[in-house]
Amino acid sequence: MLDAIMLTLVLASFAVVGAYASLCEYLLGLDTDEDVSP
């Protein structure tokens, strides 16, 4: 039982990192930089 919980924890953690990658992709999409160099 505890093994199943641990393995679920592992997979859930990687799923969270996957969601974090989506957040990073979203941040990239927000890029509205303008070149301020003279």
């Binding site: 093994d3 592992v10 990687f14 990192v17 941040l27 890029d31 003279p38």
Partner: protein
């Protein structure tokens, strides 16, 4: 301090510096389009692996696909290592008949080695079977290092490419890093270690009769093969609990220097590889110089602090000076065969990189010496760092540095021909904040809950340093320990696993996103207003940014631990 000690440190620095360029050139060929001299030998193996795994090496991936491939690979690796550790009692290559390890320890160990940390809450020789050591620990040491290098190479491609939607193929980078870099160097290093006296055997522990006529069991096993990758990979997980202070892991002063060089070799070479791949080796040398300066300051501080000895013992008129028959200084927790200099050098190399191997007990360092070890890890392991992680950590600081410089003069920041936008900056901050958040947050929790305090074996600021060191080491994927903490408990096994996980993957993901974003941009030719990032001015600026952003984040935490302990020691109070 002695001239011989300084000579030893200088010899190490010289060998590392001399290796950086040829090894960096080799890495550039391995990950570039040029073949390597090992291609005829290893190429067929590589092609076979691609065929068996259904990988098409010519098809490249976007940053998101690269990231997903990396995460899937490590998720499978974590589950596989966890299962192996839980089932080792029923598997072959277990001459001591060791049983499976507990669930929380198995989870901690699996995450530890998959994240290239190698935090060990167990004694290897009495806990893990040969199968677990060879198939589990050693394999993950190779793969986690190759994965780190792959991420660094992907970031380099981000800087080097123009208008590209891809940053390489994770499976190809992983395979080439393992086959062309890690395996050949480890074979050579293993043979060298065997010649120097490190065991490599599948025979069970030896039972001998000592000179006193009493029986003694001497643990041994396939040590040399694990030792080589332990050092080269920036992993640091020893076969024995005593790690490189065990004579079977690091038997002589010669192996001590070679092992320290192995720890730094790939991290140093990757700076040169970066320079070559972005078309200017000077860019790589600037990064290498920043690392070298921080290393020089660290090792000098530790050496001076340890050679000074313990003021409390000096007050008792204990002779701590160097003589022909005594190494002098603070020798508590240090091996006589390495002395103060050899121990300081190894400790600096171990904590400045992400390796975490030890040849002396860091717990027994002077408060200032221990504080420097902590500070090394707190600057995100960018002083050479681990294979890959050191370079991409340093490039994060470069992005912050050019951004700050851009703010000062009102120009859009650029680095090696790429304009740094707000999205790259946000992602860099996300990556840089992950490690301190995990370190300081979990340290704070452990300091106030009963399971956290119950593991302490020291009181006062030293006990606090034990907790801070554990989470700093875990989140920085270092793996060394202060050893004053009984960390094999469900609380520490799970929270340290969380720190390692955050410290590795919550940094890698935004780093790869930055790589993807930069690769899609065009290269900007340098103009009169471009900040020259291959000059001494930028070198100094980058140094300042690392010290201010990286170091000052932790100053209050350091003040509560090693700094206050130092002043209390001067007042005669010990912990």
């Amino acid at each position: 301090m002695t001239s011989a000690g300084w000579l030893e440190i200088a010899l190490f620095a010289a060998i590392t510096g001399l290796l950086a360029r040829p090894l960096g050139g080799y890495l550039a060929r391995v990950y570039g389009d040029n073949g390597t001299p090992l291609q005829p030998l290893i190429g067929p193996v590589e092609d076979t692996l691609y065929r068996l795994a259904g990988i098409k090496p010519e098809i490249e991936q976007s940053w998101l696909r690269y990231t997903v491939s990396l995460l899937v690979f490590h998720a499978v690796g974590t589950v596989a290592l966890y299962s192996l550790l839980r089932l080792q009692g029923a598997l072959p290559l277990n001459p001591l008949g060791l049983g499976s390890i507990s669930q929380d320890l198995a989870l901690n160990t699996a995450v530890s080695f998959v994240t290239n940390t190698s935090w060990q809450s167990y004694s290897g020789e009495t806990t893990l079977s040969y199968a677990s050591q060879m198939i589990g620990i050693t394999v993950q040491s190779f793969l986690s290092a190759a994965s780190g290098m792959a991420v660094a190479i992907a970031v380099i491609r981000g800087f080097a490419r123009r208008r590209s939607v891809t940053i390489g193929n994770f499976w190809v980078d992983l395979t080439r890093g393992t086959l062309y870099v890690l395996v050949p160097i480890c074979v050579i290093a293993s043979v060298f270690l065997i010649v120097e006296g490190v065991p490599q055997t599948l025979a069970p522990a030896a039972e001998v009769i000592t000179l006193e006529g009493r029986p003694q069991v001497i643990a041994r096993g396939p040590v040399a093969s694990q030792e080589a990758i332990k050092l080269l990979s920036g992993d640091g997980g020893g076969f024995f609990n005593a790690n490189s202070s065990h004579p079977f892991e690091d038997p002589t002063p010669l192996t001590n220097i070679v092992e320290a060089v192995l720890i730094f070799a790939l991290g140093a070479a990757l700076t040169n590889c970066f320079g070559r791949m972005v078309g200017s080796e000077r860019q790589g040398w600037v990064l290498f110089s920043v690392m070298a300066i921080l290393f020089g300051l660290g090792v000098s501080g530790i050496y001076a602090s340890e050679a000074r000895g313990n003021p409390a013992l000096t007050a008792l008129r204990v002779d701590e000076t160097v003589s022909s028959s005594a190494p002098g200084g603070n020798m508590e927790g240090k091996e006589v065969r390495f002395g103060i200099a050899g121990s300081a050098l190894f400790a600096e190399a171990s904590t400045a990189s992400s390796d975490g191997a030890v040849n002396a007990m860091h717990e027994s360092s002077s408060p200032l010496g221990g504080g420097i070890l902590l500070a090394n890890m707190m600057v995100d392991e960018v002083i050479i760092g681990g294979p890959g992680s050191g370079l991409y950590g340093m490039l994060l600081f470069c992005i912050v540095a050019v951004f700050m410089a851009g703010l000062m003069i009102g120009r859009t920041p650029e680095y090696v021909g790429k304009k740094i936008g707000s999205s790259e900056m946000k992602l860099a901050i996300l990556a840089l904040i992950a490690v301190p958040a995990a370190t300081l947050g979990l340290t704070a929790i452990a300091c106030v809950v009963q399971p956290g305090l119950a593991a302490l074996t020291n009181a006062g600021p030293h006990g606090y340093s034990d907790i801070l060191y554990a989470y700093t080491s875990a989140a920085a994927t270092n793996g060394s320990a202060f050893a004053g903490l009984s960390a094999n408990s469900p609380f520490y096994n799970l929270t340290l696993a969380l720190a390692m996980f955050v410290g590795r993957f919550f940094v890698i993901v935004p780093v790869l996103a930055i790589a993807g974003s930069l690769a899609a941009k065009d290269l900007v030719p340098p103009s009169a207003g471009t900040l020259a990032t291959d000059r001494a001015l930028f070198l100094c600026f980058l140094l300042g940014v690392i010290v201010i952003v990286g170091g000052l984040t932790y100053l209050p935490a350091l003040a509560l631990g090693p700094i206050i302990e130092h002043f209390q020691l001067l007042g005669g109070r010990l912990y």
